[in-house]
Symmetry: C2
Subunit: 311 residues, 2 copies
Amino acid sequence: MRRMKTVVAIDIGGTQLRVATYVTDSQTPLKHGHTTTHADGENPYDRLTALIESVWDGDVQAIGISSAGPLDPHAGIILAPPNIKAWRNFPLTAKLTERFVVPAFLDNDANLAALAEWRFGAARGHHDVLYLTISTGVGGGVIIADRLLQGHHGLATELGHVTLEKDGPLCGCGGRGHLEAYSSGTGIRSFVADQIRAGRVSSLGGGESAKEIAVAANAGDALARESYQRAGEYLGIGVANFLHTFDPSIVIFGGGVARNGPLLFEPFEASLKRHVFHPRYLEGLTIAQVELGDSAGLLGALTLARLKANI
Amino acid sequence: MRRMKTVVAIDIGGTQLRVATYVTDSQTPLKHGHTTTHADGENPYDRLTALIESVWDGDVQAIGISSAGPLDPHAGIILAPPNIKAWRNFPLTAKLTERFVVPAFLDNDANLAALAEWRFGAARGHHDVLYLTISTGVGGGVIIADRLLQGHHGLATELGHVTLEKDGPLCGCGGRGHLEAYSSGTGIRSFVADQIRAGRVSSLGGGESAKEIAVAANAGDALARESYQRAGEYLGIGVANFLHTFDPSIVIFGGGVARNGPLLFEPFEASLKRHVFHPRYLEGLTIAQVELGDSAGLLGALTLARLKANI
């Protein structure tokens, strides 16, 4: 009896490691498992390989891996993960290939969420896809003519870090006026905190999270509303720039801040229409939310491995 | 005797039509010709087909066409050319295919200049290419993993029309704060004219061209120098954004304004370094001038036809 061809997908998070084995063409795992990334006296790599062994099944053709950046997808190296200190310049794909004797492929979580939504989620059937995740930061992933945009160093589509105002507010990266500095949860919080420090009257105290600010906005607080208004306006400018740049047929939003509905998306859509320089960019353009949720990392890793290994 | 396989390339300009026939793999035309686009009592399409017939040779496999936009490369339609009034929504590739019974492929001049430089010019051997032309306006073309970025509506890489300052100066398109409004010849002229109207003292009168302003700058005029300084600074912000977006291995500049050497490129490079948010984007990055000059349109059209017809 010939064994089924399978792919092992890995989603590396700062708190959890998740691994699943998939039969070709299926998005339902044959076997799957998860464990905490860190445990006393053990290193994350040994925990990962043990987890892989526990779900290993069938005739594994390739391994796909999703991880937070920064990383080098071409060389398969994790560069400086914020939550796994031991993995600085860590040659993850080479080590897994040596250990399991199958090719391994790596890319960052935003790129692989885009790939997963394109293959299994909200962007099925689209060829040109812009994905933006808006949470603590702003991340992006882009599919062009059915291929993931990776770039020469594997650093393409860092879409949170495009400058929208040269002398704008400070970004987490140290730059100024980046999209992330306006439209991320951090940007929304900082705006409110700055305004309150400057003496603005509000039901807020200045230390609230983006989620708490959304609650206040929906309860009618003017400053809270303004903070989302501003986030949506700059998101519209950023997305207009990305339409002029990539001309996608769909824009998909993920991340907690993007779950705020009209609070963010009414000012966003008004701004997008105002800043697009030709109406043809909006013809037939779909604007949607992600569909895959938590499984996007595994499904993106699966899709990457299938594409790269030509399965 | 079997006849040579050939491609016919067409470069449509507002004042001149140029056509050449190339043997597969050669960049030296077998036959070529040109004529004025307009002539009393004749329409440009008849002038074009007569010119094509005059250089038609060998076993023609495909026709490639470069034209100013706006146009729809997927449908092969010229939409609203500024200099050929009769060609509004003109189905050029369908008409040529019907007439000459070979497939025809169309794209805009900036995209095809990028393709030509990638195949024959400054970007030979690169897989990820950013091309910017800086003259009266700012145009762009991008190659990603050896493929031309066209977009869903064929409107990708309108790189002159990304917003760099929400409330910045007016752009020719009606938008505000676009890269083109700062760094094009028009942007440089407008800045000088505005400053002089505001009472600024200069050797300039306010009606000079970007070229004349460059001469004054090189002669030491402070306002003229400042106008190029500002153009270079915003060009650096724009290119930093494009590195974060596309992560190319080469940036190529064409167009008259880009021929001003250090006047533009010293402030550009300082600004680029300041605005790139991670030094890896600059590792091994080549910054170069175009090599092909006038023949870029024909060679881009030739390359497009070869790629699309799989020759």
